[in-house]
Symmetry: C2
DNA sequence: GATAATTACTTAGAAATCTATGCAATGGGA
DNA sequence: TCCCATTGCATAGATTTCTAAGTAATTATC
């Protein structure tokens, strides 16, 4: 059980290139609702940082970000229907269609029309995709490690509880 | 690498429509790196939940999600150049161009070529956009409140520290 | 002062998403 | 058995975002 301090030393830049110059400029006010305190903004920033890194690290393997989520599920459950895949990955079906089309083009999957139910398309990984598994999972692990650098285990646990709860809170709301 | 319990109380559905049926199905394994423990996945889910709600709640005002971030900055600093806007909003410049084009079309901004430096385009809110300010900020506040329902203040504080640090960690990494 | 480098914006093109619709296979009731 | 609702996949079209590359205005260098 590691336990180390946290102490946010970085100011959390939004654009990693944009050296500085934007805070401290005119118009400090935003009293009405400062983005730096807004969970939504914090989540958005973090999301983009994760996406950016994921994209860069899997690109060398010829895998795009949108394909990643599907690979991940298929490695553990080959032969699912598109509907099942959509649910498990958490995407709408048209998104799944697009991702699978690109995966078929790049030789990561095959699609086979269902025998029993001819509406269904069962999705199977190719050998190529299966071979990528361990390397790509290592990439995912490394990104998580990079992200969690220097964060105390108990803070991480609290983080997971909170963000999971937030998502659930928001998912419960229809409008 | 830390290893700790987690206790994820909510099942964190991905698709709010997909009632259930996917956890508990076959193939529980994913031993190699369970998504429910991956900060990246948690952040992605939360991000989409936030986006979805934001989109729905501002649509009635005729404002799209991509316009929102710019409005937010402009309410506090009217007349910025596109470059400055990009930096403050945290978007790449082409993204800014697209957002501003749509905002000009919907009558939220005017663009005026700079007098001093004729490369620059200064961006000004219209009266219409200025009038939207308080209502839309209230929307933002309400979403945050919804998200944070039932979460203890100290957990929230830990959450903010952690996610800010994660973003900073990731931003520091180039590849 | 002419040329080179930089800066500000733009275009082009791709990817990842969504909502709304359409079409075809299936299955349950009358 | 036949109709119709449901289910599974697909298309269309919109939005948000990126990277790469282009153009025009400004500034710096010789």
């Amino acid at each position: 059980m590691v336990s180390l301090d946290l102490s946010t030393p970085m100011p959390a830049r939004k654009d990693p290139k944009a050296k500085a110059s934007h805070e401290a400029t005119a118009s400090r006010r935003e009293v009405e609702f400062p983005p730096r305190l807004s969970s939504g903004y914090l989540v958005r920033d973090a999301h983009r940082a994760f996406q950016r890194l994921l994209e860069r690290r899997i690109a060398p393997y010829g895998v795009a970000r949108g394909q990643w989520y599907f690979l991940r599920v298929l490695w553990n459950a080959d032969g699912l229907s598109q509907r099942e895949l959509s649910v498990r990955v958490g995407m709408m079906e048209p998104t799944t269609v697009i991702a699978l089309r690109s995966m078929e083009r790049s030789g990561l999957i095959r699609r086979v029309r269902g025998d029993d139910d001819r509406r269904k398309m069962r999705v199977f990984l190719t050998a190529k995709a299966r071979r990528l598994r361990s390397e790509l999972l290592a990439v995912a692990r490394s990104i998580t490690e990079d992200a969690e650098q220097g964060i105390a285990a108990r803070d991480l646990a609290a983080f997971r509880r909170v963000i999971t709860r937030m998502t659930a809170n928001l998912d419960r709301i229809e409008r």
